[in-house]
C-alpha cells in the first residue's frame, strides 16, 4: 500500500519547501518474538526470547517485553545498556527521533541492538500496515509520534495475546511522560515510568543507581531558591549571535580556579578572542568544552585573570553566601592594562558532556543517598549523584554521566555508570588515563575482526600481480628489543656498476586494510597505536600488527619498497617505489646490529649490508645537519619492570647507538622521497606533514637563559640555531648543552598532518626539509596507510577511490589524526608519570641532584637527569607564612629570602610521593641545597613524616 508523507521544511535561504516522500506500508513485518506463528517465517530470525523470565518485576510478574519511548531511550540509555535489561522492542519511530536528537545515543542504541545477547528488536512500525498512523489535523508531530508508539504498543499486546494464550506474554510500555502514560493506560496498555519499573526489579537493585535523575519541569521552581539565570532558547541565541549581541565560543574551565573560565570565541574576529568569565553566576552552568553564547559585560565590570588557586571544597550544600565571599577574593586590585574582556554565559548552544572518571566524596550525613562526585579532571565541576552503594564505591574510580543542571542546584545532577576499580590499582589507573585522553581502547568489534584474513594465511599467485619478488635480497630489520610490530626492514648491496642499491621495505598494511570497510574506519578512528609503559593499544588488530604485517625474519611478507641507487657519496641517482614480497633474513635489536658492525670477525652478507647502510647513513646525517636540521633532546626514560608484579623497579635513560640513527636516517630519506612523489602526482590531495617555524618570541626564554651563561644562541634560521647550539659548550658544565637542547625543544611548534591542497607552507622546520610525510610506520599510524594508498595509485599498483581524492575529507581526517596523536602523547606522558609515582612509592624519599629548568614567580621547575624527571619546587604553601620572593624577568632568576636562583643552577632536591589527595597523587619536590633557613628541608628527613614537623619548625622561627 502506498502512502505519501508530506512535510514542510525551512531552507537555508529562508524559504519554505514542501517535500513529498513516498511511503509504503507492508503486512509482512515480523514482530520479532520467536515462536510467533503469525510472523515466524518473516525475514530475519526472531530476536526476542520466547520466555523472557530472567527479570522478575514486582509490578509485572508475567513474562514481558519492554517498549520504551523516545525520552526513556535518550535519557536512560545507561540503564538499557545494563546486561540485566533484555528483550526490548525499539520502535522505528523512537529510533528516528533519537537519531535526530542525539547522535551519540543513537550510536549506542545501535550497538545494543546489534548485540545478540541483549535481545533488542527494532520494529519498523512506520511501515507496518496496522501500526502506521497519519498526522491528524491540529496534532503536532510530537503528539503524532507518541500516538504512533501507543498504537504499536497496543498492537503488540493484541498480537501476542493471539500467539500465546498459555504464555500470557505482555508488552510493557515505558514512558516518563505523565500524560502519555495516562493515555496509554486508558487504552489498555500496561504502562509504567522508567523509575517505577526499574525499582520493581527486585533482583537488580544496582540498576537504580544508573537511573538518570530528571527533575520534572513542574516542581523545579518551588524547591529551593534559584541560583542561576535562565538559559535563553537557541533561536534567541542565534539571532543574538547574528546581530553581534552575543558571541559564540568554546567554554574552557580553568584548572586552577573553579570560579573562572575562558571562552574561546569562534570565527576570525581580531579583538575579543578570549573572554574571561568569573563567578558561578556568570559561568551559569556551562561545563568544560560546551559551546556557549556569551554576552560581554560593560567595561567597568571587566576583570583581570586572577592568579589565585581555588578548589571547590564546599561539601554538600548550596551555600551561596560563602561562594560570594570567595568570589570577592578574585577581584584583586589590578591595573587598567591587565583588564580583559569579561562576560557571562547567556545560553548553551551545544553541550559536550561525556561520561567522566573520578571518585565519590561520600556525604557526611549517614544513610544519605545523595553524594558528590569529584571528577579527575579539575575543569569539570563536582556532580551530585544518587546511589545506595556509596560505601562500596568509596575509594574506587567510577564513571558518572551528567543528566542536567537545574537552575536551583549548585551542582549538576548525574548518575553512576560504571565502577572501574580501586584507586591506585594499575589496571584501573590505566583505564582512567585512557578514558580521560579519549583513547579508543575497546576490543575490536566483531565486524572489524571478520575482515581479517583467515589463518593460515599465505601469499597467493594473485597477490604477486603488480608485485616484485625481492625474496632473494638480504633484507634485515633493526628495532628496539621486544618489538613485535616490525614495520620496516632494510637492505644494501653493491651493484655491478659499482653503485650501491639501498632498499627500505615497509609493511604493506594497505593490502590488508581496504578503504571504507569497518576495519579501515576503526583504524582511521584510532589514528595511532598508543604505547603506554606496559601496554600497547593497537590501531589494527593484533593478528595484523604482530603477525601478518610485521616483517619478521624468515617468513615471506608483503612490503612496499622504496629503492634507491646511490653512489658512495650517498647521492641518490635513481628512486623507485614498488610493492614487493620480501623475506627478512634477520630481526636484530639496535645493540645486536651495532655489535655486528663493530666486530671485525663477522663478514656475512647481513653484516656487510649493515656496514654499507651505516656508512651511507653517516654521510646523509652530515648532509642533513649542514642543511640546518635540529638535533634536539628530551630526557627519555625507560622503566625496568619487575617480571612478576610489573612494578617499575628501576629507571634508565634511553641509550642512543649509531644504529638508531642509521635506521632513522633511512626512514627520513624514504619519507622525503615518498612525499615528493605523492605531491608530484597529487598536488591537491597529498597527505603531508609539516613542522612550522616557531615565532621568534618562542625563543626568548632560550636566548635569555643562554645569555645568563654568557652564551649566544641565534634563532634567525634553523641552521643558525643548530650551529649555535653546537657551539654552546661549557668545559666546566658539560650537561649545559643538553639542558639548552631540552629548552629548545620546548620552544618548538607541534608538527601536524595536512592536505597539500589546503595549505601552501609545506616546510618541515625540525628536519630542514621542504617536504615531508609519514610512510614508514603503517602498522602504528593511520596517516602512513593513506600515504601508502596514494603512492600505490601513483605507481599503478592499486586503484583509487573517491574519498582518497577529496581534499575536504582528507583535511577532516588530518584533523582527527592530529588530535589522536596529541592525545596519545598526553596519555603516554600520563602513563610515565603514573609509573614514576609507583617507582617513588616503592623507593621512599630520596634526595637527588637537579638543574633548574625554568624560574617561575613562586616556584622553580627542576630536572633530575638521573630519572629524566621534571618537577616543580613550590615556595608558597597553604597555611604557611610566605617567604620573601623577588622575581627578575630579564635574567630569569628568583631571589628567595637572600639566596638567588638562576636558570641552570644546580640544586639538590628531595623527592617524595604526596598522597594527600588520593585522586591526584603527585611527586612533590622540596629544596635541600642550597640551604635557606625555613624553606629548605634538612637532608636526613628520609624517615620523618613530612608535613607535621615542618610546620612546627616554622612557627618556632617566626
Amino acid at each position: 500500500m502506498l502512502k505519501s508523507r508530506t512535510f514542510l521544511k525551512k531552507t537555508r535561504a529562508g524559504g519554505v519547501m514542501k517535500i513529498v516522500r513516498e511511503h509504503y506500508l507492508r503486512d509482512d513485518i515480523g514482530c520479532g518474538a520467536s515462536g510467533c506463528a503469525a510472523c515466524g517465517s518473516a525475514h530475519e530470525g526472531p530476536v526476542l526470547e520466547p520466555q523472557p523470565l530472567d527479570r522478575v518485576s514486582s509490578l509485572c510478574p508475567q513474562p514481558h517485553y519492554l517498549l520504551p519511548d523516545t525520552n526513556v531511550l535518550l535519557h536512560q540509555i545507561d540503564v538499557l545498556e545494563d546486561p540485566a535489561i533484555r528483550n526490548v522492542i525499539v520502535l522505528q519511530t523512537v529510533l528516528q527521533e533519537v537519531r535526530n536528537r542525539s547522535a551519540p545515543v543513537y550510536k549506542r542504541i545501535r550497538d545494543v541492538t546489534n548485540n545478540q545477547e541483549k535481545h533488542f528488536y527494532t520494529f519498523t512500525n512506520e511501515h507496518h500496515r496496522e501500526t502506521y498512523v497519519e498526522q491528524l489535523q491540529g496534532e503536532t508531530s510530537n503528539d503524532r509520534n507518541d500516538r504512533a508508539i501507543r498504537v504499536a504498543a497496543k498492537w503488540y499486546n493484541e498480537h501476542l495475546k493471539k500467539m500465546s494464550a498459555e504464555n500470557q506474554l505482555r508488552v510493557i510500555f515505558i514512558t516518563n511522560d505523565r500524560k502519555n502514560k495516562e493515555k496509554a493506560i486508558e487504552e489498555g496498555i500496561p504502562a509504567f515510568t522508567c523509575e517505577e519499573y526499574v525499582k520493581s526489579l527486585t533482583a537488580n537493585p544496582e540498576l537504580i543507581d544508573r537511573l538518570a535523575c530528571l527533575s520534572e519541569e513542574g516542581n523545579e521552581i518551588d524547591s529551593g531558591k534559584i541560583i542561576f539565570s535562565e538559559h535563553l532558547p537557541l533561536s534567541k541565541l542565534q539571532q543574538g549571535i547574528k546581530s553581534g549581541a552575543y558571541l559564540q565560543g568554546t567554554f574552557r574551565a580553568s584548572r586552577e580556579n573553579y570560579l573562572e573560565a575562558i571562552v574561546w570565541v569562534h570565527g576570525d574576529t581580531e579583538d575579543n578572542k578570549e573572554i574571561i568569565l568569573q563567578g558561578l553566576k556568570n559561568l551559569n552552568r556551562a561545563i568544560h568544552e560546551d559551546i556557549v553564547a556569551v554576552e560581554l559585560l560593560p567595561k567597568n565590570q571587566w576583570v583581570a585573570p586572577s592568579s589565585v588557586v581555588l578548589l571547590d571544597e564546599g561539601q554538600n550544600e548550596d551555600d551561596m553566601e560563602k561562594e560570594e565571599e570567595r568570589e570577592c577574593i578574585l577581584k584583586t586590585a589590578v591595573s587598567e592594562k591587565m583588564l580583559k574582556p569579561t562576560g557571562r554565559v547567556v545560553g548553551i548552544i551545544r553541550r559536550n558532556w561525556r561520561p567522566y572518571c573520578g571518585m565519590l566524596s561520600k556525604s557526611g550525613i549517614k544513610e544519605s543517598r545523595r553524594h558528590l562526585f569529584t571528577p579527575a579532571d579539575k575543569r569539570i565541576p563536582r556532580i551530585r549523584i544518587e546511589t545506595r552503594q556509596a560505601s562500596t564505591l568509596e575509594g574506587q574510580r567510577i564513571i558518572v554521566a551528567i543528566d542536567g543542571w537545574p537552575r536551583n542546584s549548585r551542582y549538576p545532577n548525574g548518575h553512576f555508570v560504571k565502577n572501574l576499580g580501586e584507586v591506585g590499582d594499575k589496571e584501573t589507573e590505566t583505564e582512567v588515563l585512557l578514558l580521560e585522553h579519549d583513547v579508543p581502547h575497546q576490543p575490536f568489534s566483531q565486524a572489524v575482526l571478520s575482515l581479517l584474513p583467515k589463518m593460515p594465511w599465505s601469499i597467493t599467485e594473485k597477490d604477486m600481480k603488480n608485485r616484485e619478488d625481492l625474496r632473494h635480497l638480504c633484507v634485515c630489520s633493526v628495532d628496539p628489543p621486544g618489538c613485535t610490530d616490525i614495520d620496516d626492514a632494510l637492505h644494501c648491496r653493491e651493484l655491478e656498476n659499482g653503485n650501491l642499491e639501498v632498499g627500505v621495505h615497509i609493511a604493506d598494511v594497505s593490502y590488508f586494510i581496504r578503504p571504507g570497510n569497518a576495519l579501515d574506519q576503526e583504524s582511521a578512528r584510532r589514528g595511532t597505536t598508543v604505547y603506554l609503559c606496559e601496554k600497547r593499544i593497537d590501531m589494527v588488530p593484533e593478528l595484523l600488527s604482530s603477525n601478518l604485517c610485521s616483517l619478521r625474519s624468515n617468513v615471506d611478507r608483503l612490503a612496499f619498497s622504496c629503492i634507491w641507487e646511490m653512489n658512495h657519496n650517498a647521492e641518490i641517482l635513481k628512486t623507485r617505489f614498488t610493492k614487493s614480497v620480501i623475506n627478512s633474513k634477520a630481526s636484530l635489536t639496535y645493540a645486536e646490529a651495532q655489535m655486528r658492525i663493530d666486530s671485525s670477525t663477522m663478514n656475512d652478507s647481513i653484516t656487510t649490508s649493515l656496514r654499507g647502510l651505516n656508512k651511507l647513513a653517516k654521510i646523509l646525517k652530515k648532509g642533513r645537519i649542514e642543511n640546518g636540521a635540529l638535533t634536539l633532546s628530551s630526557p627519555e626514560v625507560r622503566f625496568h619492570m619487575d617480571s612478576e608484579t610489573h612494578d617499575p623497579i628501576d629507571l634508565q635513560t634511553k641509550e642512543l647507538r649509531e644504529t638508531n640513527s642509521m635506521v632513522e636516517e633511512f626512514m627520513l630519506l624514504a619519507n622525503i622521497s615518498v612525499a615528493k612523489k605523492i605531491h608530484e602526482e597529487f598536488s591537491e590531495h597529498a597527505l603531508l606533514r609539516k613542522h612550522p617555524a616557531p615565532p621568534p618570541s618562542n625563543y626568548e626564554i632560550l636566548v635569555k637563559a643562554a645569555k645568563s651563561k654568557n652564551l649566544e644562541i641565534k634563532t634567525d634560521t634553523a641552521k643558525a640555531l643548530a650551529d649555535s647550539l653546537d657551539r654552546a659548550d661549557s668545559l666546566t658544565f658539560p650537561y649545559l648543552n643538553t639542558l639548552l637542547r631540552i629548552l629548545a625543544t620546548r620552544c618548538m611548534m607541534q608538527a601536524v598532518y595536512f592536505c597539500s591542497g589546503m595549505d601552501t607552507d609545506f616546510h618541515h622546520y625540525g628536519l630542514a626539509s621542504p617536504i615531508y610525510t609519514h610512510f614508514t610506520s603503517p602498522i602504528r599510524r593511520y596517516a602512513d596507510i593513506i600515504v601508502h594508498r596514494l603512492l600505490a595509485v601513483a605507481v599503478g599498483a592499486d586503484c583509487t577511490y573517491p574519498e582518497l581524492t577529496d581534499k575536504h575529507k582528507l583535511a577532516e581526517l588530518c584533523k582527527n589524526l592530529n588530535f589522536r596523536h596529541k592525545m596519545a602523547q598526553y596519555a603516554q606522558r600520563a602513563s610515565v608519570a603514573f609509573h614514576t609515582q609507583l617507582f617513588f612509592k616503592s623507593k621512599g624519599i630520596v634526595s637527588e641532584e637537579a638543574y633548574i629548568l625554568f624560574v617561575r614567580k613562586n616556584a622553580l621547575v627542576v630536572l633530575i637527569p638521573k630519572y629524566g624527571l621534571e618537577g616543580t619546587v613550590f615556595f608558597e604553601e597553604k597555611d604557611k607564612p610566605k617567604p620573601r620572593l623577588t622575581y627578575d624577568d630579564e635574567i630569569p632568576s628568583l631571589k628567595i629570602e637572600d639566596t638567588v636562583f638562576h636558570i641552570f643552577d644546580k640544586v639538590k632536591v628531595k623527592i617524595m610521593l604526596d598522597s594527600s589527595n588520593l585522586q591526584h597523587q603527585k611527586i612533590r619536590m622540596s629544596l635541600v641545597e642550597p640551604q635557606i633557613p625555613g624553606i629548605s628541608v634538612p637532608t636526613d628527613t628520609s624517615n620523618m613524616d613530612i608535613s607535621e614537623p615542618e610546620t612546627k619548625k616554622k612557627k618556632l622561627q617566626k
Binding site: 505519501s4 519554505v16 513529498v20 497519519e134 489535523q137 503536532t140 508531530s141 539571532q239
Partner: protein, 291 residues
Amino acid sequence: MAFVALSEAEKVYIVHGVQEDLRVDGRGCEDYRCVEVETDVVSNTSGSARVKLGHTDILVGVKAEMGTPKLEKPNEGYLEFFVDCSANATPEFEGRGGDDLGTEIANTLYRIFNNKSSVDLKSLCISPREHCWILYVDVLLLECGGNLFDAISIAVKAALFNTRIPRVRVLEDEEGLKDIELSDDPYDCIQLSVENVPCIVTLCKIGYRHVVDATLQEEACSLASLLVSVTSKGVVTCMRKVGKGSLDPESVFEMMETSKRVGKLLHTSLQSVLHKEESLGPKRQKVGFLG
C-alpha cells in the same frame, strides 16, 4: 493555436446551425461542454487542479514561495503566471512554437487578476516590505480542444481554491531583527478566499449570433470574439477583444449581458463542485491521470 482544416461547406453548416441555436455537437448557444475538475492532483505543489473541457485539457499548479514584496505595494504579496504550451497539445507548439500563445495567455491572466478584489493580496503579506508569499501559477496545456481561456481560468480558480499556504510566524527580537518560524503541523495553513476570483467567458461571434465555449471548428468560423472576465456576482472585471474582425457596440453589449448570465451559472456550479470535493477530505480516492 491549433489548426483545423474546414471546407467552405462545413463552415456554412456551422454558421447556419448557430443561427438556429443548434450547434454541431447538439448544444445550444449558451451551453458549455461537460467540464471535469479535480484538485490536488500534483502532490508537491501548494495547490493544483486539472480541468478537462471537451478535449481541452489543462493542468495548473500553484507554488507558494517566500519573497520580498514589490516596492510600490509593500504590504501585499503577488501572483506570477507562466503558461507552458506542451508540444503534446499540438505539433505547432514544438520548440518555441507555443511561446507567443503562452505569453498572450499569461498577459491576459495578469490583467484579470490586476485588481484589488479578485484575490486578497494583503493576506499574502508576511511582514511589510520584507516578506510576502509569491504564488507562482504554472499553467500547462496538455491538449487543445478550443476555448482555452475559459478552461484555463476555471483551472486557475480551482487551483487557487486548493492552495494551502503554510502558516508562518515572524519572530522579532529586541533589536528588531526578524526571523521566520514555521509551524510543524502540516494542517496549520492559510487558505485563500476565491470568492471573487473571476472566470473568463469567451463569446465567439458566429454569423449574427454569438456562442460560448466554442470548439476548434467553431472558432475557425468566427472572425472576432470577446473575452469577458466575470466574478461570481456577475461583475465584469476585464474585457478583451480577439480576432481579426470587428464588433459593433450593440452586439458587444449583448455579449456582455450573455457573459454575465453564463458566468454566474458557471461560478455557482464550479463552487459547488469544489466544495463537494473538499468535504470528502484526504480520504477521497484520487482519479488523477488514470481517470
